[in-house]
């Protein structure tokens, strides 16, 4: 049963979305207003299916001037149905997945007895239900609705970070080749790939440290280059290698970062002390970083990245060098940060951790995206039990056992 307040909100949203069907694209999009918490709650409740995007060269999206768009999948068995349909048409779901045409819209009724949790989720669900009834359709592939929801998500923090056809060439050699994906608030997006696949290059482009050869990187719907300084204020980055100034102590480094970020002195020094205590660095805070272990350096980087409470957190191999205890803390921290509405883009080679932490993964191979989906769906699509198996199939070309044997033979010779 919907509560009255939820129904009111649902009706309001339905009106907004319905209004979008008649209004011109941009003007209608501006009127759409759903509290940020709605989207965040939704993405937490429906991490696998709801809000899952259909990406591709959609005619509808092009008509509305949005090259990448999302269609809400409201039913819970939809992906299965979609894949079955493709199977029937003779298409290989894995190959299809590689083309990044992952989802198809269809609408079924909600699972009986499903607890929708927070009111916001119920409200949006209600809105969509009303809309369905109103249009007497079981298909939500309506262009206007898709664009409406997409724009709502963009504006309210749903798709916060978006890469559109990003390229990076080094001396003509492509390192990143037509990479497009999005990362949403409240979600941990895993960014995987073998060594040299272009992960760190992508990360550096997202931070603004290196320029892309072509493409667009958007944050909250705006190209990051439009106001790079404002963007940097909202972003925290843990780089792949723990490069720090060795002649400074841990506390000196963090204080310098706080000063460079223009954080209030009192507040930042309290925050630094707190972070150093929680990360077990407090006793060595005045020691030179040159003496720090790799794990301690990694903790300094993590503290520096979180010091200013960023909205976007880019983690490039954050578990490198951390001991088991610290790694467990970091894993929980990443989930907690996502739960608090941060956008977390997380690159790692530790697939077990990725499987536990990430709600979605983007797999890169030779600079190109070969998969972009939830882990559960990838498992289902590829009929493989673990992320490791999926990763091996998509991104590892060598016969690892044979290669190991060759190495052993070589040193024996």
């Amino acid at each position: 049963m919907h509560r009255l307040a939820d129904i009111d909100l649902a009706v309001a949203i339905a009106r907004e979305i319905g209004g979008r069907q008649q209004a011109d694209g941009d003007a209608g999009r501006e009127q759409l207003s759903i509290p940020c918490a709605v989207v965040r709650d939704l993405s937490r409740i429906f991490p696998l299916h709801f809000l899952h995007g259909l990406k591709g060269q959609s005619i509808a999206a092009r008509r509305h001037g949005i090259p990448l768009f999302a269609v809400a999948l409201v039913g819970f068995r939809i992906p299965w149905a979609a894949v079955d349909a493709f199977d029937e048409s003779g298409r290989d779901p894995v190959a299809f997945n590689r083309q990044r045409m992952i989802g198809v819209c269809d609408v079924g009724p909600p699972t009986p007895g499903f607890d929708f949790g927070p009111p916001a989720a119920r409200a949006l669900w209600g809105a969509l239900s009303i809309l369905q009834e109103g249009t007497r359709t079981h298909c939500l592939s309506d262009d206007a609705l898709a664009v409406g929801i997409y724009s709502c998500l963009i504006r309210q923090g749903g798709f916060v970070l978006e890469l559109r056809s990003v390229y990076k060439h080094f001396s003509g050699i492509p390192a990143v080749d037509d990479v497009s994906f999005s990362a949403r608030a409240g979600e941990v997006t895993g960014y995987l790939g073998p060594n040299g696949s272009g992960k760190s290059t992508t990360m550096k482009m997202i931070t603004g440290l290196i320029e892309m050869t072509a493409g667009h990187i958007l944050f909250q719907g705006k190209p990051i280059q439009d106001d790079l300084i404002a963007y940097k204020r909202r972003m925290g980055y843990v780089p792949e290698e723990p490069y720090l100034y060795n002649h400074l102590s841990g506390v000196e480094y963090l204080t310098m970062v706080a000063q460079l970020r223009d954080l209030p002195q009192k507040q930042s020094s309290q925050c630094i002390d707190g972070l150093l205590r929680l990360l077990s660095l407090y006793d060595d805070r005045h020691a030179s970083i040159s003496g720090y272990s790799k794990g301690m350096r990694q903790k300094v980087l993590i503290a520096a990245a979180l010091l200013h409470n960023p909205e976007l957190i880019l983690l490039d191999e954050p578990f490198s060098g951390l001991d088991v205890g610290s790694a467990l803390v970091l894993r929980s921290l990443i989930q907690e940060l996502a739960a608090r509405g941060k956008v977390v883009l997380f690159s790692s080679h530790e697939l077990d951790t990725v499987e536990r932490v990430c709600s979605r993964v983007v797999i890169l191979h030779k600079g190109k995206i070969v998969a972009d989906d939830s882990i559960e769906r990838l498992r289902f699509l590829m009929e493989l039990p673990t992320l490791e198996a999926i990763f091996s199939q998509l991104a590892v070309e060598q016969d690892t056992v044979s290669m190991a044997r060759q190495i052993a033979d070589l040193i024996h010779a």
């Binding site: 603004g208 490069y243 000196e252 223009d262 030179s288």
Partner: protein, 580 residues
């Protein structure tokens, strides 16, 4: 030298080359990691100094007509040559600080390999000796021949020349070994006696102390050039405790020209040499036998000093960050300390010379042009040295944090760099100058000069900031761009002329209010002009972290009609494919 090196075992030769690279500290000197080239440049500078010295000695002999005059001339020359040699070797010892002892990197890299400790020791000693040998040889290249010729000719026989020649070179080598060995002994026993974590912390302090000591002794010790002056009771303390006089005695003893009354000086020289050689050998052996294992066992993580850690605010957050970063880089990085020490040596030299003059008399003197020149030189050397050191990166890989946190326009960074120069160069030099000027009178002239000095410092800062759109210690530099050895002499020559001209202009104006105001107005206008120019340029500047080499390919611009790839709407995949 190459043939000598080839006599060493293969492992020693390989390690010798690696260690020589680190003794020289190529990165700090920017010479494209080319050891022979660097050593060639280093040798040529010392040869040049030696040639100038030899010419000076040979041409000044004519002024020594009387036996007393001749003796005074010879003793002054010998003392200058020996103390000069000790200064150069002392500075080399400071520059190559810690390089003869195994550090943690050596131990961690070489211990797992089948390399014996004595092989590492031999390679280290060979590398240090190569540099030291080169310095001794080249610095005495001309004087080592001219001086024995000069004094040998008074013996009237060829034997006299050979005796002087042998005495000269032995005394020079002994003095060099004494200085270098003293540094090794102190370092070695400090490493042995102190816990490693405390040693790591105290080593940098010891280096600074050694630097000050070497310069202080050179500039403060008097020249005692007559037997009568040697016998004066007030000079006995200096003679007894200043090593250059011991080796002066040693040289004259070997040359057969030492008065019997001064035999104790030569004895001190021999004893000192013996003690230092034994001490250095023992400390080196003990370090390699004992400390190498200790180095692996003991962590390098030095706990921070307990107590108060004060972080002063020196402006806004960015200015504080950059000033403190600069100060810490300067004081904690060996490379930067060494390069800055080169300029600081000049500053301290002028300061100590002024101090020596001030100490030599109790009476208050009128302000002299020499003092004005000395203060100008100190100021400009300090600013130029700091500006030079700012250009040397401390860790290029760690610079990403500056790029990531670049939240303010470039002019704010330039302002912060300006503040660093003011706080780390101008204010300390100004303060030292003020202290040194206390022995002069009248006070109003001193105050007036200190104002001029401050404005001159400001002008130099603004001049050094032209085109400097980078954070200190962060930007890479093009190897080979900074030809220190050539540029330095040109710079010093021009600087001296400039300082003399400024002093000449200033001196009469100190007692003439009208002229003084005019001078201040001109200097102030100049400073404001450069400041305005810098501020204007900084507004449109882009902060850079990497110096790029100039294009070697001339672009004809014939492809300008084609739009750049980044400007094209990449949504159109067909167009993109065509372009790529």
């Amino acid at each position: 030298m190459r043939k000598l090196v080839e006599l060493l075992p293969l492992q020693v030769r390989i390690l010798y080359r690696q260690f020589l690279l680190r003794v020289v500290d190529l990165e700090a000197l920017s010479i494209q990691a080319d050891i022979p080239r660097f050593l060639g440049q280093f040798a040529s500078v010392l040869v040049f100094i030696s040639l100038v010295g030899a010419i000076g000695l040979l041409t000044s002999e004519t002024a020594t007509a009387t036996p007393e005059g001749y003796l005074s001339f010879v003793w002054r020359g010998e003392q200058a040559l020996i103390s000069g040699m000790m200064l150069v070797v002392g500075l080399i010892a400071v520059i190559s600080w810690d390089s003869t002892f195994p550090d943690r990197r050596d131990v961690m890299v070489l211990s797992p390999l089948p390399v014996a400790a004595h092989t590492i020791l031999l390679a280290k000693v060979a590398a240090s000796s190569a540099l030291l040998g080169l310095a001794v040889l080249t610095l005495n290249f001309a004087t080592g021949l001219a001086w024995p010729l000069l004094i040998g000719s008074h013996h009237g026989s060829i034997w006299g020349f050979f005796q002087s020649f042998a005495a000269y070179w032995f005394a020079m080598i002994a003095a060099s070994i004494f200085v270098y060995g003293s540094v090794l002994t102190v370092q070695g026993f400090t490493a042995l006696l102190l816990p490693r974590r405390i040693f790591l912390r105290s080593s940098a302090i010891l280096q600074i102390v050694a630097f000050g000591l070497v310069l202080g002794v050179y500039f403060l010790q008097p020249s005692i050039t007559t037997p009568a002056a040697m016998a004066v009771p007030e000079n006995q303390w200096v003679l007894a405790w200043s090593p250059s006089f011991w080796f002066f005695g040693l040289f004259n003893q070997l040359n057969g020209s030492l008065p019997v009354a001064l035999g104790w000086l030569a004895r001190r020289g021999w004893i000192a040499l013996g003690v230092v050689i034994s001490g250095a050998t023992a400390s080196l052996l003990l370090c390699y036998l004992r400390t190498m294992k200790k180095t692996v066992e003991e962590p390098d993580l030095v706990p921070g000093a307990r107590g108060w850690h004060w972080t002063p605010r020196v402006g806004n957050a960015l200015q504080t960050a950059i000033v403190l970063f600069s100060l810490r880089s300067l004081t904690r990085s060996r490379q930067h300390r060494v390069v800055f020490a080169f300029y600081l040596a000049g500053v301290l030299g002028f300061a100590l010379s002024s101090l020596r003059t001030a100490l030599s008399t109790t009476a208050q003197r009128p302000l002299s042009a020499d003092f004005l020149i000395a203060t100008f030189m100190m100021m400009t050397l300090a600013v130029a040295g700091l500006r030079m050191v700012f250009s040397l990166p401390i860790s290029l890989t760690a610079n990403w944090i500056w790029r990531l946190t670049q939240l303010r326009p470039p002019e704010k960074y330039v302002a912060a760099t300006r503040r660093s120069l003011v706080l780390l160069a101008v204010i300390p030099v100004w303060f030292i100058s003020a202290m040194l000027s206390l022995s002069f009178r009248p006070l109003h002239a001193i105050a007036a000069h200190l104002v001029v000095l401050a404005v001159v410092g400001w002008i130099f800062i603004e001049l050094s900031l032209i085109g400097l759109y980078k954070v200190p210690f962060t930007c890479s530099y093009l190897p080979g761009k900074v030809h220190v050895q050539v540029m330095l002499w040109v710079f010093l020559f021009l600087l001296l002329i400039l300082a003399m001209s400024t002093a000449e202009l200033e001196m009469p104006s100190l007692n003439d209010a009208g002229r003084y105001m005019c001078l201040i107005a001109i200097l102030g206008t100049g400073a404001l002009g450069v400041l305005a120019f810098n501020r204007h340029r900084a507004k449109s500047a882009v902060l850079y972290f990497e110096e790029l080499p100039p294009d070697v390919i001339t672009t004809l611009g014939l492809v300008a009609v084609r739009p750049s790839i980044s400007k094209i709407n990449m949504d159109n995949s067909h167009e993109r494919r065509d372009l790529l």
